[in-house]
Symmetry: C2
Subunit: 147 residues, 2 copies
């Protein structure tokens, strides 16, 4: 798990360098990385250009199918509602993320709903390399505030 | 409202012709349509290629900003979790949709959460030209079953 999360953190660092909120994502299939991406909302001027969406799009292009049911995704930050939905839609089987999203618009309510409806068999792991993932975000927002 | 929903329905019909689940979306700004799109998941082999996501991307490209806070979106079907999140992320001020999504993974839980947190000022209207929107979907799935 750490191997893939390290690559996601590297992606997040690229976003940081570009002045984007530092979030990175990696999609792996059968132990191999097939797609990596980082947040590009500002560069692409596109609110949907989160790391997860871009990584899912690249992974689908790589395997030639929108169904990513043999894939797992690693993200440095708890996915937002849009990205959580995209992960479900793409049928990814396992989600692993680092830092928890503190806002109320995070994954909690969706996960609760999922458990209740028992419609998705997705496995979710949180807190993997949490400190490293969180520090990048904290440094980024501190720098923004201090400017 | 009906004028824009009619265009969204036309988009949904294009999806139908392509063998895609018939959903269409229109983004309007100050009374003018700035983007139209339909579902293209199969054609693009991309689980994120829902009508709303594509319309939001086109609208952002059109105005050169990811912030669509002067825009509203019309969709023939209640947006899924991914698209609801994308609508929030893009700061669209008003969502109008036709047919209601019957699955438990629809907008209900998110809307409830939103009301609770009172974080988003988005206005939501449902059931506009519902029968036309719904009939397209029913015809599509009936045809699929009968094949």
């Amino acid at each position: 798990m750490r191997k893939f999360m390290k690559e996601a953190i590297n992606e997040a660092k690229k976003a940081y360098e570009m002045g984007e909120v530092p979030v990175g994502a990696v999609v792996a299939k059968e132990g191999q990385i097939i797609a990596m991406a980082h947040n590009m909302v500002e560069a692409k001027k596109d609110a949907t250009a989160h790391a997860e969406i871009l990584a899912i799009q690249k992974a689908a292009e790589e395997i030639g199918d929108w169904r990513l049911d043999k894939c797992e995704i690693y993200v440095t930050l708890e996915p937002c509602i849009m990205c959580t939905g995209a992960i479900f839609n793409s049928r990814i089987k396992r989600l692993t993320y680092g830092a928890k999203e503190s806002s109320e618009m995070g994954l909690e309510i969706i996960r609760w709903e999922l458990k209740k409806s028992n419609k998705s068999g997705i496995e979710i792991y949180e807190g993997i390399m949490e400190n490293e993932c969180k520090k990048l975000l904290e440094d980024f927002f501190k720098e923004k505030r201090d400017k």
